[in-house]
């Protein structure tokens, strides 16, 4: 029975490319391991898989009785629903430490860097395993995505150096141009149902007993949302009610202007005031310089709930 590698629900490019890269490394080291996913892929991720010639990883929701590696998170709410019936062999991640626990020793590579794939590159180096060209390309794109082409405050020197090294292996001369191409794909919203947009990069967090959902859409120009903003607002209100959530936030991130408009529905009217020092006006607030959910949105919110 092979082992699995799986990222979070509503997978992003880092979750998928990590699963592909780690399963190749483990298999090469003699442990048969296959990548899997917990949901449908975004246009951006499909663009990466297509570009480097990968199939979509297997869609697999249940892991009872299986052994698996978790990538790109360590939160129970973001993992498989039956995670308690699985054996967790390891966690590779770059977020805050979540509430997953195990009953046996395991392998964790968690680092405060911009992307899980930067850590997986360290694992390849540690084990002295050569990275195939196409895997290097996919890993590189995941880092460009997670770091918003190095603009995010989560980006570290390790991420930049890693992209340079992976670009060389993949034979890509200009990673940043490929990054912009990728973000143009990501920015396309026309023809996509509103709910699909809201859930495209959406994560639930347990904040001191309150369920808080936070979505993010990164685009190269916020004007893209002018016609659908009212629909997005209506839909996150629905999502809040359906999931019995305390709060739902949707970040509309302008990667060129380097800031985010936050759409807010919450049981606490003053939640953004308390977390970010800025009140909402008609359920919206512009947060200048805010690009990173992980580093700039989640920690102050967690403080506000503490």
């Amino acid at each position: 029975m092979p082992h699995y590698v799986v990222g979070h629900k509503i997978p992003d490019s880092d979750s998928i490319c990590s699963a592909i890269a780690l399963s190749y490394l483990k298999t090469t080291l003699g442990e048969e391991t296959v990548p899997a996913r917990l949901g449908e892929l975004s246009p951006e991720t499909l663009f990466i898989l297509d570009k480097f010639g990968f199939e979509q990883p297997e869609l697999k929701m249940s892991y009872a009785g299986e052994s698996l590696y978790i990538v790109d998170h360590s939160e129970r709410t973001q993992g498989p629903d039956d995670i308690d019936e699985a054996t967790i062999l390891g966690i590779i991640d770059h977020h805050k430490l979540g509430d997953i626990t195990t009953s046996t020793p395991l392998e964790c590579w968690i680092r405060p860097v911009g992307c899980t794939n930067t850590i997986i590159k360290m694992m390849y180096d540690f084990h002295n395993v050569e990275i195939p060209k196409n895997i290097a390309g996919a890993m590189m794109c995941a880092i460009l995505s997670d770091t918003v082409i190095f603009k995010s405050p989560t980006c570290t020197t390790a991420d930049i150096k890693c992209v340079e090294a992976l670009a060389e292996i993949a034979g890509i001369d200009d990673p940043e141009t490929l990054g912009m191409e990728m973000f143009k794909v990501k920015s396309a919203v026309e023809g996509t149902p509103v709910r699909d947009l809201v859930l495209r990069d959406f994560k639930d967090f347990d904040m001191n007993g309150n369920l808080v959902g936070i979505g993010q859409l990164e685009v190269i120009d916020l004007a893209i949302f002018d016609d659908i903003k009212a629909d997005l607002e209506a839909d996150i209100a629905k999502l809040k009610a359906e999931g019995n959530r305390h709060t739902v936030l949707l970040l509309l991130t302008d990667i060129m202007k380097e800031g985010s408009e936050m759409l807010v529905v919450s049981d606490s009217a003053d939640i953004t005031e308390r977390a970010y020092g800025k009140a909402t006006s008609e359920g919206k607030v512009w947060l200048d310089g805010v690009l990173s959910r992980k580093k700039q949105v989640v920690p102050p919110l967690q403080e506000a709930f503490a």
Copy 2:
């Protein structure tokens, strides 16, 4: 303000030597870091510090407002009581993943090996930092202690190779002889108050909402306990009542015979039957081949409580 490195309550040699080794590495890398401890040291640890010329790390119980690295565990019950008011910068450990969480990204090096110091050696190698002779000696002793001189089922090839490399750096020709010397110090019980013996290597675990305390005494001959076994049994019963614990286990481990006598007081009379397939007789049971609390005692018990 320096950062701290601290292991678990009732520190063992691994917790103390890890704190010394990691704080030296971090300081060398430009981050001023000092080792600390959450309790009194055992004769074994004092023997190691004396042998390699170290002072005892600072006794420091409160970490509110401080930044720290946690070594040799990831459990809230085993950390500082005010851990929620501290910033956890990282965790280096070789146990199951516990319930510590953070609100910010961090650095975790967790591996299924026999000793935290084996992982810290990997960190030195990763950063290309030379290990001083005396630190190498202390790290080596911690690995010999945690792996019961390579006899424990938790011992891996990585631990054995690490001891070889550290012995070379420390200029020690015969690590196993030094290991036996250390275990002779550890075996001395005469003149030590019974409660001190019970608590010498004692850890509390939260098992599905039940507080379970497990102590372990490793000796080179169980006959050492003949005269005091009744006192030990009476004392763990007291400890159970004082701490409102569901169960207290005390492992009397014979490292030469390679097995443990387990002393048991529990709210569930059949707990060892369910966890280890062997009932107690007069509150005691011999478990052949059982040397490791982490690998052989805790996981089956956790299953029994699940």
